[in-house]
Symmetry: C2
Subunit: 153 residues, 2 copies
DNA sequence: TCCCAATGTAACCATATTAGTTCTATTGTA
DNA sequence: TACAATAGAACTAATATGGTTACATTGGGA
């Protein structure tokens, strides 16, 4: 398959929080986010939990004004930070079956692929590191405005 | 999840065929390959079917000496060729749910991510393009010899 | 101290994907 | 025509994903 949509949702969440709170210290609830993403608050909280473990968001319980906010400025959170927080598995999977160890190929191919797979995954991550949530918000708003302008034609 | 193990198996298949046939015109059966991979011939044939569609292998039916061989020299088949043949989906998945189109983020984030996702996937593929099946066979044999040497200590 | 809105988390379900198995049809040369 | 292997459909088991429901927990404010 592909990289789970959980990653896309995580980026949606952080971009949404950034847009709603701006420079303020407000907290956003999982319900508000769920409406924007179009899914259930529980699913959102599961992902927020991963982001909290990676110290990307802060949660506030009890009283009024509860919910979530960014743990640091949105231009200090890269898309790679989010990837590492949400995707735990390596990009490439090895055999499910156990290759025949009497065979040269069966024995040697897994270590041989290891280096190549690592290199490819690193190249992909290097791209993600070049963008921050702040960049993503700017681009998202730009795309939104573009679509609105087209609608008015 | 991750890139399916089908890709790893496809590389195993092609490396195996290369090692067994060398420069000869011999054909390898799906049964022989299945033994090396440690799985069923049907699964192997399913993957060989994808590789055949991408013109990476040739199948021969009927008579004696039936089975599969490479469609071109192993140093002319890159790991990217195999990736494109076997993995049809984009690396990154978009939302499963439908984002709220009344929301700036819900509306703009998918096109905003599109470019970034494409760039990351391209960087990963670029790495795969640098290796051929021939390179992979060399490295696999080297790793095998290394492990055999360690065993003798 | 009690209230309460929202989080934290477990349990359960539906769905999709992956890979393994079995079976039957087909291929095309000897 | 025989036959050795592929082609492919149908079925199963295992796993992962995301959605739903339910309930305990948090902790500031009345």
């Amino acid at each position: 398959m592909a990289i789970v949509s959980r990653y896309t949702v995580a980026l949606h969440i952080l971009t949404f929080i950034t847009e709603k709170t701006g420079n303020s210290d407000a907290f956003i609830t999982s319900n508000q986010i769920a409406v924007s993403v179009g899914t259930s608050p529980v699913f959102i909280r599961r992902i927020l939990g991963s982001l909290a473990k990676a110290n990307l968001v802060i949660v506030k319980h009890g009283g009024t004004d509860t919910g979530w906010k960014l743990a640091r400025s949105s231009d200090k959170i890269t898309l790679l930070d989010v990837y590492e927080a949400v995707v735990q598995k390596p990009l490439f999977e090895s055999h499910h079956s156990k290759p025949n160890t009497d065979c040269v190929i069966g024995r040697g191919i897994q270590p041989a692929l290891h280096h190549i797979y690592n290199q490819s995954e690193a190249a992909m991550k290097q791209q993600l590191r070049q963008y921050s949530i702040s960049d993503l918000l700017l681009e998202t708003v730009a795309q939104f405005n573009l679509m609105e302008a087209e609608k008015r034609l």
